[in-house]
Amino acid sequence: MTQLIAPTAIIDDAHLVERPAEPAANVFSSRPVRALLSLIGGLAIWEFVARAIVHNSAFLAAPSAVAVRGWQMILDGSLLYNGWVSLQELLIGFVLGVVCGIAIGAAMVQWRGVNDALELWIAALYAAPIVALAPVLIIWFGIGTASKVAVVFIMVIFPIIINTQAGLESVDRRLLLVARSFCSNRWQTFTTISLPAAAPFIVAGMRQAVGKGLIGVVVGELFGAKAGLGNVITSASSVFDMPTLFVAVVTLAVAGVTMTAALRVFEVRLSSWRDVA
């Protein structure tokens, strides 16, 4: 199973926090300053292309126009409303996906039979562009919240299952022996040894899953929704309202980056004992 490499690789870069300190020659050598410059530079090029080359606001909106539209949408409440609808769908689907993913992954490691029954299906669905099932789920669950929750759920659950499995299989066997020697029952061994050992893997899986979940929300809403950022994108594009479309896209990007970063912090804290080991 080649995909097992991915979660390990994600965890491993936790060790790379110690970079050789670069000589602080000037302000421009610091990483935050460079990131800011990159951001400003990118926006400047975008602005230039939109104003000087494209000239057509139905084709490409300049960042300044997007910012103005964004501010209007905050004031009239439409951004918050649609953002909240999407966020709700994402959170419910994500939490359900994580809980079920951990349970299924753990069951597969714990019981050979469960593993043999599910392994093939999970490997196939993990590799498949599962978002293609979104239209089917819209038909089954309607255009309300439930269908989007379902799309997020199927996007999130597979990376969680795969990473839970990889984490539980990486548990030091000697620690399992310690638990047994101290008369631990199966459940105690799971909660005191297996789960803490697998936790960094599971959080790494959650980090992958956030991005997938966001795709799920948007694609789900594109196929049929009454509200949400995906719905904003569909209705804006149908009337060539590029500024509004870009407001929705930028909001989604910011949400994705924020959630991934939050999970990264959580992951580093969870595996802090690894750094000293």
């Binding site: 620690l175 047994r180 020697s181 105690q188 005191t192 040894i193 803490p196 690894r274 000293v276």
Partner: protein, 269 residues
């Protein structure tokens, strides 16, 4: 001094630990069966410190795992206070070869681990763990994680984790094998001090003869695979044994005797 055969089971008194004709086979692939331990009989009295020495692969660790209940022997009987050993129990505690501490738990929480599994309330567990951490000389390190400790300190935690559950028998599986010579000697002296304070029956496995002789009341010499009790050598050197007891000529004599017993095996192997 060496008693070639295990003592005849004429003594009707119940020993702390009694092994009768214990036999352990490993079933490998196909028909290959390895006999790890055969015809092993032993009596160990309460409060005794027994060391088991033997070449690698003579089934020492297997024997200890059987006593802990982690492994079931294929044949024979193992009795603790006259009761058959079938599973791990709170009356026995193991000090593992690699410290095998839970890396995400602090020293304190590693020591309370066994008590938590037994359902001892956390406050009581913490009090008992603190006392034990102090006994093994790690006061002040309660909040550290295992990764921040040296090998010797990790083994102190390992020892505290086993002793804190207040077992009747403590099983030590080459706990100092990975330590450098100096730390190893310090830890041996420390172990005797802690053992004196707790008066547990101790079974200590090692392949280092001098370690066995310094620690033990009796040294059990095992033969190479299949492991059998080859000789039981009493060490009648008075306790307490300070670090200087290592240079006791009687100790050298016993070491030489055990060395000779083991060399013959090596020549054959």
């Amino acid at each position: 001094m060496a008693v070639a055969a295990p003592p005849a089971p004429t003594d009707r008194r119940i020993a702390k630990l009694e092994l009768i004709d214990v036999r352990v086979e490993y079933r490998g692939r196909a028909q290959s069966e390895t006999l790890a331990l055969d015809k092993t009989s032993l009596r160990i009295e309460a409060g005794e410190f027994v060391c088991i020495v033997g070449p690698s692969g003579c089934g020492k660790t297997t024997l200890l795992h059987c006593l802990d209940g982690l492994k079931q022997p294929t044949g024979g009987r193992m009795l603790l206070d006259g009761r058959e050993i079938t599973a791990p129990g709170p009356d026995r505690a193991m000090v593992f070869q690699s410290a095998s501490l839970l890396p995400w738990r602090t020293v304190l929480r590693n020591v309370t681990y066994g008590l938590e599994l037994q359902g001892v309330p956390l406050r009581e567990a913490t009090t008992r763990a603190r006392a034990m951490i102090e006994l093994v000389g790690l006061a002040g390190f309660e909040g550290r994680h295992p990764g921040e400790l040296s090998g010797g300190m990790q083994q102190r935690v390992n020892l505290a984790r086993a002793l804190v559950i207040d077992p009747e028998v403590i099983l030590l599986d080459e706990p100092f094998a990975a330590l450098d010579a100096q730390t190893r000697e310090t830890m041996q002296t420390e172990l005797l001090r802690v053992w004196d304070a707790t008066k547990k029956t101790a079974i200590f496995i090692t392949h280092q003869i001098s370690e066995a002789v310094y620690l033990a009341d009796r040294v059990i010499v095992m033969s190479p695979r299949p492991g059998r009790v080859k000789a039981i050598v009493p060490v009648d050197i008075p306790r307490p044994r300070p670090a200087s007891a290592r240079r006791d000529p009687n100790m050298f004599a016993i070491e030489a005797q055990i060395g000779a017993l083991m060399e013959r095996d090596e020549a054959r192997a």
